[in-house]
Point group: C2
């Protein structure tokens, strides 16, 4: 692990980087982040990720202390220092150092290069089981640092041999803990469009899907899962990951659906040539 | 500001204390805290605060890496170093340094001594105005570090010349952003007992009140505010602070109520002789 990070204007090894303990991200959970990766050594759809990052910042009334051009310059520097063909970048923006432990000051801004998570071919080939829980993220449009729920439920996920957790509230499905949710009913692809963080992979996959399927962005009710022929999730590291089981419910035949497989191939083709 | 802190076994000046950037409190908002103060140089009701702190830790599945006796020893050391007759202590416990940015490891534990906030006599004498907003804290029984809502609403509070914000959800009142809520209807004192963080000052005031009033710990519906004769909030730094207005609604006569004033005196008497 030779990763470096950018922290308030400086490039330092990640394991030497620190924030003072009166940072509001730490004291008050007041922070946002974003995360993108490279394919073929090139940052993937970075403009869309940056757009989302700046949107989160705006909704939290936080000023990003630099601009996209400068950010991409530092991403490139960090990529060189990482000496890896492909890696991921985490962006973190907090409320800054508070003298009174509560008032936002000058935000602290950090970019960290990271190893990509291990690639598990089986998940893509055979699909995954997920569990569900009643929850709605506070401020769903903001990619805030609040991940209390997935951390608290991690043991249960592991115990049930599941991959992740699907959130629903008042009978409406929103998203997985860190990725978006889709179902196929016949040739119609459906994904929630409210109370979710709109992922970049979601956006790419929707563009690809529109050329081949009817697409509905709307509320999905829990009962609809029983009628779903296929399901999958999309995310920066999850790409298109088929979902074959939710709690005790098998989706469709309980195997990866052919339309999901088709979208997987379209997406994999796109990133291969990116 | 000559405050020191205890951080993972060491005493260091607060402004030299830091956590690495892969701390889960920072990256994932996964942290709890607590906060108590001294009166007459003695930690006030510290055993009850510590009980609550350990309870929060348990609900978050975090192990406090020390015990109450050792904590109180370090509180005493920090108090000496602060060279102040009275001060406050903030306890912070996070998910620790995560190598994968998400999995809880060995928690980081910090105790910080702090100046007490400025004493504003007017608030106690004339009462305060507060605003209300629809919100319910995630995991209300846990004193988590998540203060996104009060930080986001701080500008509105200031613009409306208010003191704090009262949360309600589905017509039920829970608590203020950092303190508990009470109303008097005649000689009956009512305070919510579900979906709230049960404050130590709340506990002390309830004990005092039971000797003089009928006490009901139960749900308070929003409509009841119109029938309230008096209202107040309790907290470690707020003590018993009268509330005379909520949004555009004057409580009772819009002046500090006599029963609230009576409880204020009881509480002030208790801390004077603590």
């Amino acid at each position: 692990m030779n990763h470096y990070c950018y922290i308030n204007g400086e490039l330092v090894p990640v394991n030497q980087a620190s924030l003072k303990i009166n940072d509001l991200g730490l004291l008050r959970g007041f922070g946002i982040f974003d995360y993108f990766r490279t394919y073929n050594s090139k940052p993937f759809m970075h403009h869309w990720y940056m757009e989302r990052f700046f949107h989160s910042a705006k909704l939290m009334d936080l000023e990003v202390p630099t601009n996209e051009t400068e950010i991409m310059y530092y991403v490139s520097e960090l990529h060189n220092l990482a000496k890896l063909p492909d890696c991921a970048f985490r962006f973190l923006l907090t409320g800054g150092y508070a003298t009174d432990s509560i008032s936002v000051t000058k935000p602290n801004f950090i970019i960290i290069s990271e190893d990509l998570p291990a690639y598990v071919q089986d998940r893509f080939d055979k699909g995954v089981k997920i569990i569900s829980t009643e929850h709605l993220r506070e401020l769903p449009e903001v990619k805030s640092t609040n991940y209390i729920r997935p951390i608290l439920i991690a043991k249960q996920i592991k115990a049930e041999n599941a991959y992740d957790v699907l959130y629903h509230k008042d009978n409406e499905i929103s998203e997985l803990s860190r990725s978006n949710f889709f179902i196929f009913k016949g040739d119609t692809l459906i994904t929630p469009n409210t109370n979710v963080l709109k992922g970049i992979t979601r956006r790419v996959v929707l563009e690809l899907a529109r050329q081949h399927f009817e697409v509905q962005e709307r509320v999905i009710h829990i009962e609809e899962l029983k009628q779903a022929d296929e399901a999958f999730t999309t995310g920066t590291t999850k790409k298109v990951t088929p979902i074959v089981q939710i709690d005790n419910l098998l989706i469709g035949t309980g195997k990866v659906g052919k339309r999901t497989h088709f979208l997987q191939n379209l997406f994999n083709e796109l990133i291969k040539n990116y």
